[in-house]
């Protein structure tokens, strides 16, 4: 098969898969929320309510589309789209499975093997906040604007700590390519063992970056009537909510890749490269991803939302110094142990 044809097919599959997983994350969210609260959750649409995401989608499409008169029309439309695009772009550099070797030809299970994969992710993720900011600003509603500003300042503050925690990781792996990082974690050499502290900081920041509880301040109904998406209706709101789930999926993938060995599992090196290895690797990878999605949901229904000043305190006064400390410790470790 031509490499370009394969790449196009692969990218479409990843694209579809992201959408599909995001769709069913909404279902998982509702179901798990119910279970954690001793309820049953959606169970009317289809067996076990499995068609619920479709019903939700249909509902969103048929709701009235409303654009406020005083809003900036084009930016208002652009906001959700921007958020969606940036959410979908991140999955490009994530290696989902070991290389597939068929008839002597190697197919990479990664849309793009950038040697600066981590930087790419950070670049795209930091663009994501534009979607929120543009949407909130264009709504011409002070609550939306407040929500958007909160989102922006929250994302910026937490991105700093996140970046610093990654610096320590990069010091250990000495590469920026996600594929190399995964390859280094063969067997049980997962980065979580070498960087438990960094992982903790990273995952807290990941929660804040995806605007998930307990850091869902840009969209709190009690204070902001809904937050940056107050004025959005119909599928535009759907895009915002949906992109958030894509973000959760991608963050889970990044977490699994950076700290939990990605598609690596013990004994993988004993296997011949081929179909079986690729499929098994992909299953392991998705198992890890689903675990993290579960973690995201689990925490959302456990912890209450932060207050805004607490959020900022945690970001600037706790996480950033801690991640700097982590860098120093890692540096000392590398200098004296190895």
């Amino acid at each position: 098969m031509n490499e370009w044809v394969f790449k196009i097919i692969f990218i479409s599959i990843i694209f579809g898969l992201s959408l599909f997983i995001a769709m069913y994350s909404t279902y998982a969210e509702r179901k798990l929320a119910a279970f954690l609260q001793d309820r049953l959750g959606p169970n009317r649409a289809g067996p076990f309510g499995l068609l619920q995401p479709l019903a939700d989608g249909v509902k969103l499409f048929f709701k009235e589309e409303f654009i406020p008169k005083a809003s900036d029309r084009w930016l208002f439309i652009m906001g959700p789209g921007l958020f969606m695009i940036t959410a979908l772009m991140t999955s490009a550099v994530i290696p989902f499975a070991p290389d597939l070797v068929l008839n002597g030809q190697t197919y990479s299970m990664q849309a793009a093997d950038l040697n600066v994969g981590i930087l790419y992710i950070f670049g795209v993720v930091s663009l994501g906040v534009y979607g929120v900011l543009v949407g909130g600003w264009a709504s011409n509603n002070k609550f939306s604007l407040l929500g958007a500003i909160r989102a922006a300042s929250q994302n910026i503050s937490y991105e700093l700590a996140m970046g610093l925690s990654i610096v320590a990781l990069v010091m250990v792996t000495s590469t920026l390519s996600l594929r190399d990082i995964v390859d280094q974690q063969h067997g049980w050499h997962w980065n979580i063992i070498y960087q438990p502290f960094g992982f903790l900081i990273f995952i807290i920041c990941a929660f804040a970056e995806t605007n998930r509880a307990p850091f869902d301040l840009p969209e709190c109904e009690t204070e902001l009537v809904g937050g940056y998406h107050t004025e959005f209706s119909s599928m535009k709101l759907g895009f915002y909510l949906f992109a958030e789930y894509i973000n959760v999926f991608v963050s889970s993938a990044v977490l699994a890749t950076l700290y939990f060995g990605g598609y690596q599992f013990p004994f993988i090196s004993d296997m011949e490269p081929g179909m079986a290895k690729t499929i098994l690797g992909a299953c392991v990878m998705f198992g890890k991803i689903f675990f993290f999605i579960f973690l995201f949901i689990w925490i959302r229904w456990t912890l209450p939302r932060f207050r805004y000043d607490q959020l900022m305190n945690l970001g600037w006064k706790v996480l950033i110094p801690l991640s700097v400390l982590n860098i120093l410790l890692t540096g000392a470790f590398i200098l004296f142990k190895i």
């Binding site: 279970f35 609260q37 001793d38």
Partner: protein
């Protein structure tokens, strides 16, 4: 706060353990239309006008229930019994029209207490059903009187 409280994480993990344990608990949900919870013995639901052991209506249209009703939900018209409908009614007077407006009724059960003939009761296993039309909530004798059980 001591150190372990100040870093919050132990508390966070404790909270997560608690929510996780709820994941496997028995669920409290009742699948309503298919599955119904048994009502309490003292539940006051939809009214019923009783018959006596011979199948005649107990109500004598004395009007005490309407008088006792704080919501003024009951209206009735009394009529005199004639020889040809003698077997249907217990005493000389009966209610030719007996209506309860379920939108007014507060299900207090005072009608039941006021009735000297033990004719009206609030059932503990039937609720007044919902409807889209106001007229549907005015319950006449056709919907209130206990179905004829004898023969």
């Amino acid at each position: 706060m001591n150190f372990s409280e100040r870093i919050y994480l132990p508390a966070v993990f404790k909270g997560m353990a608690i929510t996780l344990s709820h994941l496997f608990r028995k669920k409290a949900t009742i699948q309503y239309p298919e599955q119904q919870r048994p009502m309490s013995q003292v539940f006051r639901g939809l009214h019923i006008l009783k018959r006596d052991e011979k199948g005649a209506e107990r109500c004598t249209a004395c009007g005490l229930c309407a008088l006792a009703c704080p919501a003024e939900a009951i209206t009735m018209t009394a009529a005199e019994r004639t020889p040809d409908n003698k077997q249907f009614y217990r005493e000389e007077k009966y209610a030719s029209v007996y209506e309860i407006n379920m939108l007014r009724c507060i299900f207090c059960g005072l009608c039941e207490e006021a009735c000297p003939k033990a004719a009206i009761f609030l059932q503990n296993d039937v609720m007044a059903p919902a409807s889209y039309e106001r007229e549907d909530f005015i319950y006449g004798k056709d919907r209130l009187v206990e179905p004829f059980l004898q023969n």
